[in-house]
């Protein structure tokens, strides 16, 4: 059903609902929070967090951001990459005509700021869509650490590669149906990877943002979703999405996702 295997849907938390087993685990001096994008790597390397502190790698939990507050703005000096711990962050650009272009949505466990490494300034804006908490990692220090920990380096490369792939996902010449299906399938997979239910989740982003991200008109997105509902692929109530036919959606999404 997903790449993580058949999910136990009944017991998984529905994003962004907080499940004590997933998100409320803040970690402590010797434990990572379980949503941390790096925890698996560090655990595999046998470097617990207190060890990291000794090596002066900054893992800084920030104060919660409120909806509409920015994580960074285009042109800000790049010092750190950030992992989303809770909430959803939207990255976007504003063109010369003042039109917004949505680049992506970042869910718990995902990294923002990787595209700032080259140029040492953030090349886009990042804004909290709901209440967002972040872990910030000093980039120079984590890069230095990566020279000593091959698996960390590998992981960083993987994250960057994924970032590049995501950025070009909707660049192709795909139909609106294919785009919307791909959007739902990737969202579902990403949430599943963090322990959330892959079949039920709440869309935090507005349809304008979704449409902008998919390079479609908002009306088109709604029309496609309504059609998906009629075809019993999904069920939507307000912002709550339930995927009824994942295989059907995946089939539709094939030309965008290729897998």
């Amino acid at each position: 059903m997903t790449r993580e295997g058949k999910p136990d849907v009944g017991e998984r938390a529905v994003f962004p609902q907080i499940d004590i087993n997933i998100v409320a685990d803040d970690g402590d001096d010797s434990q990572f929070c379980s949503t941390c994008a790096f925890s698996q790597v560090f655990m595999a390397e046998g470097v617990p967090k207190d060890g990291l502190r000794d090596m002066h790698v900054l893992v800084e939990h920030t104060e919660p951001l409120h909806p509409g507050e920015h994580v960074f703005r285009e042109g800000d000096p790049f010092t750190a990459i950030a992992a989303v711990r809770a909430g959803t962050v939207k990255t976007y650009l504003v063109d010369r005509q003042g039109r917004e272009q949505v680049l992506g949505f970042h869910l718990p466990g995902e990294i923002i700021g990787l595209n700032a490494i080259d140029g040492e300034r953030y090349p886009c804006n990042a804004v909290a869509l709901d209440t967002v908490t972040l872990c910030r990692f000093s980039f120079p220090k984590i890069a230095l650490l990566a020279t000593r920990l091959p698996r960390l380096q590998q992981h960083l490369f993987r994250l960057m590669s994924r970032d590049i792939g995501n950025a070009s996902m909707f660049a192709g010449d795909c139909s609106a149906d294919e785009r919307v299906a791909a959007f739902l399938v990737t969202l579902s997979r990403r949430l599943a990877a963090r322990g959330f239910s892959p079949l039920r989740f709440r869309l935090i982003m507005s349809r304008t943002d979704i449409a902008n991200y998919l390079r479609q008109a908002p009306e088109t997105v709604s029309r496609v979703l309504r059609r998906f509902e009629r075809d019993r692929l999904i069920h939507i109530s307000r912002r709550e999405v339930e995927i009824l036919d994942m295989a059907g959606l995946e089939t539709l999404a094939t030309s965008v996702l290729r897998i």
Binding site: T208, I210, P218, S222, L225, R239, E240
Partner: protein, 448 residues
């Protein structure tokens, strides 16, 4: 899942107007507050625009109870002044919503024909079309509240021309003299092709001796309305504070007699009871939807339509947008003042919290589907139903003993008798139960 806005909260929102069959009221945490203003209204409208499939819109157009805007003396000037401001409000409110959010329903309330001519109502429909997008005509409901006293037979062709396809008659006081007029209007409406006619009886009508009430019912049934509403009570008050509630009546069960008999009378005439005192012929869409479990209930009563956001326009009008309820000023000068200053005339409002939304959804299922499936609800909202609503289930046991509801291990089911006591059943799910130990002695024989 504690969902962002659950379906229409079953708050019954009374205004100054005669009661309509609507839904139940439960205690709310805070009540309507003047801290909720235009800014909050704009915010919730924007949020609902952001839904992946934004809901269609229903417009409710309200008029002042008094003063009458149409008097013999002023030649319609006051009615025109009201309309001018109403048009401004229509234009301002339309800007809140994305253009693809179509208007599927318009409800003209408060006996507009007391104030305006039928062709002025037609003009209002045109103005709506200029600022909002109408849904396709075959999907659009245009409802108008009428009363025999202010409706001339000559108005009827104009109303039908203006696209009105439902007429609602609310009768709440002595109208012996009006019965022939009502029958004439109903006949004319049907002749002109308006076939969706509702008749609601309420208030003082139920205080008369039972023989007279019986005779009245006979006359009403002879009109074969497409929906017949029987409501003893005027609507409960608005949720002012956590203390005030529409469930006082349900909680004390003071209504002594008669409703079960009345219901039997109406059913013997070939009607089915949908719930909350609403009866329809068995081939009516509501009755069909009821059997297919597609019934819904919103501020405007039972409906087969998809959920909509309700936008109230005019003096005292109520809106229900997303998870928020709000109301325009009830006095004409305040409403006029806001509009003259280019402001949306929001007087007060509130946002329902997730607990209230969940309970509203439960009450919705209770009064529409007549059943609650604990497993399905638990799964949908991420809760352990039996644990979360342990108190409600305890309270329901009393009603189960009276044969109003069947409690099964994983679901409950409202009995046929229980349909006559839906408010009492729903009151068990009141999110803010009365502090006095939840005395709940509902009586089945109660006009909902």
């Amino acid at each position: 899942m504690a969902a962002y806005p659950a379906p229409s909260a079953l708050l019954q929102l009374p205004r100054h107007d005669p009661p309509r069959p609507g839904c139940l009221c439960f205690r709310t945490r805070a009540g309507l507050t003047t801290r909720f203003q235009e800014r909050e209204l704009r915010q919730i409208a924007t949020i609902t625009n952001g839904d992946p499939i934004p809901r269609p819109l229903s417009l409710c157009i309200a008029f002042p109870q008094r003063p009458l805007l149409r008097t013999a003396a002023d030649g319609g000037a006051r009615g025109n002044a009201y309309l001018t401001r109403l048009y401004r409000e229509i234009a301002m409110s339309a800007e809140l919503f994305d253009r693809d959010r179509q208007v599927e329903q318009v409800h003209v309330l408060d006996y507009a024909l007391r104030h305006l001519h039928a062709d002025q109502l037609a003009e209002a429909m045109d103005v709506i079309g200029r600022h909002y997008s109408w849904a396709a005509p075959e999907r659009t409901l245009r409802s108008v509240e009428l009363e025999p006293a202010s409706t001339r037979r000559a108005d009827i062709p104009a109303l039908v021309d203006a696209g009105f396809n439902r007429a609602v008659f609310n009768l709440d006081s002595d109208l012996d003299s009006d019965i022939p007029a009502l029958a004439g209007l109903v006949e004319d409406l049907r002749q002109h092709g308006l076939r969706n006619i509702h008749v609601n009886l309420s208030g003082r009508l139920f205080e008369q001796p039972s023989a007279e009430l019986d005779a009245l019912l006979t006359q009403m049934l002879a009109l074969r309305p497409d929906r017949l509403g029987l409501r003893r009570q005027a609507r409960p008050p608005l949720p002012e504070t956590g203390q005030q509630t529409g469930n006082e009546e349900a909680a004390t069960g003071v209504q002594p007699d008669g409703f079960e008999n009345l219901a039997q009378r109406v059913e013997a005439a070939g009607y089915v009871h949908i719930g909350l005192g609403c009866f329809t012929p068995p081939d009516n869409r509501l009755a069909l939807a009821d059997r297919q479990e597609e019934l819904r209930c919103d501020l405007l009563g039972y409906t087969t339509r998809a959920e909509s956001d309700i936008v109230g326009l005019g003096v005292g009008a109520l809106s229900h947008i997303g998870s928020c309820l709000s109301q325009n000023p009830r006095d004409l000068p305040s409403w006029e003042d806001a509009i003259d200053h280019g402001r949306l005339p929001t007087w007060r409002g509130m946002q329902l919290d997730e607990n209230e939304l969940l309970r509203a959804e439960l009450i919705q299922q209770l009064v529409c589907q007549g059943a609650l499936d604990y497993t399905a609800i638990g799964r949908q909202y991420g809760i352990d139903f039996r644990q979360r609503f342990a108190n409600a289930l305890t309270r329901l046991e009393t009603l189960a003993a009276q044969g109003l509801v069947e409690l099964h291990p994983t679901r409950l089911h409202v009995t046929v008798r229980g349909r006559l006591a839906l408010p009492a059943l729903a009151a068990c799910f009141d999110p803010h139960p009365a502090a006095d130990g939840d005395v709940l002695r509902p009586h089945i024989a109660r006009i909902p």
